[in-house]
């Protein structure tokens, strides 16, 4: 009994007890299970943030005002596991890897004919309403773009600077969480 009390309330000269407290502070009363928990949390974090929710930091004004530079977000890798991206959804597009990804809004769906004149997009000849953009000035397509199966037409919300492009479904990594 007295030994237990000594280890809980060590005196200033009781170095062994201090070391015991320090060890307990580091890995608790049961070091084995503490390490298993630590490893479990680490493995879980790696799986979560490498395979399911990929953390990103927004750079540039391409998606302004929807996303501003410096914002932190997460890409949900399973957002399109059971369905295809819809018109108006923001998607994350992979490049040659995952270190740099691009955020763009899906405008054209497979089979659509897309054209843009000074930032105003038309799908199959009819202009579409886009409440998420602030300025309609911007680039124009030379000729209408016909999208093949599995092709999407994407562009950023800031039409003054964002370039449009045609991408394959396989390049879409996921969807921002927020």
């Amino acid at each position: 009994m007295s030994e237990i009390e000594t280890s809980i309330h060590p005196g200033p000269n009781e170095t062994e007890s201090s070391s015991g407290l320090w060890k307990r502070f580091l890995h608790g009363r049961a070091p084995g299970s503490t390490w298993i928990r630590i490893i479990g949390v680490a493995v879980g974090a790696v799986i979560l943030f490498k395979g399911i929710l990929i953390p990103i930091k927004v750079v540039g004004f391409s998606m302004f005002p929807t996303y501003k530079p410096g914002e932190i977000n997460y890409i949900n890798r399973f957002a399109f596991a059971k369905r295809d991206p819809q018109r108006g959804e923001v998607v994350s597009i992979g490049t040659t890897g995952r270190q740099v990804t691009i955020l763009k809004r899906v405008i054209g769906l497979p089979g659509d004919i897309v054209s843009m004149r000074k930032g105003v997009v038309s799908i199959n000849g009819a202009p579409i309403t886009e409440p998420y953009i602030e300025t309609k000035n911007g680039f124009s397509t030379r000729t209408p773009v016909q999208l093949e199966t599995d092709e999407y037409w994407v562009i950023g919300d800031n039409r003054m600077i964002s370039e449009f492009s045609k991408i394959h479904r396989r390049h879409i990594l996921g969807k921002p969480l927020f």
């Binding site: 750079v59 540039g60 040659t96 890897g97 995952r98 492009s165 390049h171």
Partner: protein
Amino acid sequence: MSAKPFLLTVVIAATGWWAYTILFPSPEKQIQETLQRLAAKASFSPDEKALARLGAMNAIPSFFHSNAVLRVSSQAYSGSLEGRAEIREAIASSRAGARSLDIRLTDPQITLSSATEAELVVTATVILDADPNPSLQILRMKMLRSGRRWLIHSVEPIQLNEL
């Protein structure tokens, strides 16, 4: 086998493997390191010293093959460059017209065609004069091995759909 000799064996094996990879890096690792060194040399800040600038300008062409063909389309330069002399000239003119340049070459996907030839695609992020909107380009490269070094033989920008 008790725990200590086993742990010691694991540590020695890991150290040996680490030393081996340092002494004899794989071609992929050599290429990645070459790209990182090139990006570091090509980047510069406004407060770059004259000596460092001169050193970088002389060093960058040495990353390229003597017959290198470089097709570039960026805010800084658009066009085609052939040979080290043209590359050096373009570097000098782009450095004269810019205050700073930050180039990052990330996520290289390397395919070794043979022991002396590699093809790769890489994402290039270019920030000119601290522009908050970086320019992003996917580059297709061909690299040739010359002795212990990998030299860039060709560079061309490609669209995402071409991947």
